[in-house]
Symmetry: C2
Subunit: 193 residues, 2 copies
C-alpha cells in the first residue's frame, strides 16, 4: 500500500501514558509527548489526532491494564476477604514501586472532574467496571462467609473503591507504607465477617 510505520503504536501509547501519569494532563505538553514516545510531531498528530485524543487512548489503555491486574487478584485463590487484602497490598506495593504517582484515573478525576467528552466517558467506564469487579467479589465473600452481610454489595463496592482512591491520595502526599497498611486493614475490618 504505502510507507509503513516505524514505531509500535501500543508502545507509543504506553510511553505517553507514563508522561501523562507523571505530570498530569495540563502540565504535559505535546513536546513532552514527542520526547516520551520518541516520535516526531507529525507522527503523533497523524496517528493520534490531538493531545486530548491521545490522552483518551492512554486512559483506556491504563484502565484496561489496571482492570486486568485487579481482576487477576480478585478472582484468584482464597476467600474474598483474602483477595481484597491482597488487592490492597498490591496497591501499596505498586505505589512504592512507581514513585507515588498515584492512580492515573484518580489523578485525572481530581484534575479535570468528569469532562463532557470522550475522556469523561473513559473515566466513567473505568469506575463502572471497578465497581462491578468489586461488587462481584463482595457477593462471593458473602457466600463464602468471609465478608459481612447486611450491606448491599454495591454500597460495599463503593466503600472499597473510595478506600482505594483515599489510599492513592494518601500515597501522593507521601504517607508511610505502615500508615497505608493500617488504613487498608481498618477498611477491611469494616467489611470482613
Amino acid at each position: 500500500m504505502a510507507r509503513p510505520r516505524e514505531f509500535d503504536e501500543t508502545a507509543a501509547v504506553e510511553s505517553a501514558m507514563h508522561a501523562f501519569w507523571a505530570r498530569g494532563y495540563e502540565a504535559t505538553s505535546t513536546q513532552d509527548l514527542c520526547e516520551a514516545t520518541g516520535l516526531g510531531r507529525s507522527s503523533v498528530y497523524n496517528t493520534f489526532t490531538s493531545k486530548k485524543a491521545l490522552f483518551q487512548r492512554t486512559l483506556t489503555h491504563y484502565s484496561a491494564q489496571g482492570l486486568a491486574g485487579r481482576k487477576a487478584v480478585l478472582e484468584g485463590p482464597g476467600t474474598a476477604a483474602d483477595r481484597l487484602a491482597a488487592m490492597f497490598d498490591g496497591l501499596i506495593d505498586d505505589e512504592l514501586e512507581h514513585d507515588r504517582r498515584g492512580c492515573l484515573v484518580v489523578n485525572t478525576l481530581a484534575e479535570l472532574g468528569i469532562p463532557d467528552d470522550e475522556v469523561g466517558e473513559a473515566l466513567r467506564r473505568d469506575t463502572e467496571q471497578q465497581l462491578a469487579l468489586l461488587g462481584e467479589c463482595v457477593r462471593e465473600g458473602v457466600l463464602d462467609r468471609s465478608l459481612r452481610d447486611g450491606r448491599t454489595p454495591a454500597d460495599v463496592a463503593e466503600f472499597l473503591l473510595s478506600t482505594i482512591s483515599g489510599l492513592r491520595v494518601m500515597s501522593r502526599r507521601g504517607a508511610s507504607p505502615d500508615a497505608m497498611h493500617a488504613v487498608a486493614d481498618l477498611a477491611l475490618s469494616a467489611v470482613t465477617a
Copy 2:
C-alpha cells in the same frame, strides 16, 4: 505614606482560590486570575509576586478556612462518633453545594503531588493539622466510649482522612449522595463502638 490599595487583599485571595479550585493549578492562567479577582496584572504581580506564590496564599487560606470549619464540628456537642458523622454529612452537603469541585488540597495533591517548594509545605501542613484534629477527636471518642479502642488514634485518624479523600474523589466523579452517605456510614461503622 503613599497611594492606598483599591481592593481588599483577602477578598482577592478568596476569588483566586475559587478560580484555582474550579480549574486546577495548571489550567488557571494569570489572565483567569485577573478576571476572577477584578485586578489588573500589575496589581496581581505587585501584591502576590507570582502565580505560584498566589496559589500558595490561596492554599493556606483554603486550609485555614477548612480547618476552622472542621474544628467547629469536631469540637461541637455530642459524642465523638456523632461529631464524626456530622463531619461526613457536612462534607457531602458541601460537595453538593459547591458543584462537586472536590477539595482543593486533594485536587492539588493529585495534580502536583508534594512539590519541593512552599506549595508542598502548605499541603504537608494541612495534612498534619487535619490528622491532629481527627486524632484528638478519636482520643475523645475512646474516652466517651463512642469509638472503638484497639487501634492507635493516629491510625484511625489516617483512616478517617483517607475516607475523606476518597469521598472527595467520589464526589468528583459524580457519585450519588446516597452512595456517599453509604460510604461514610460504612467507614464510621469501622471505628464506632
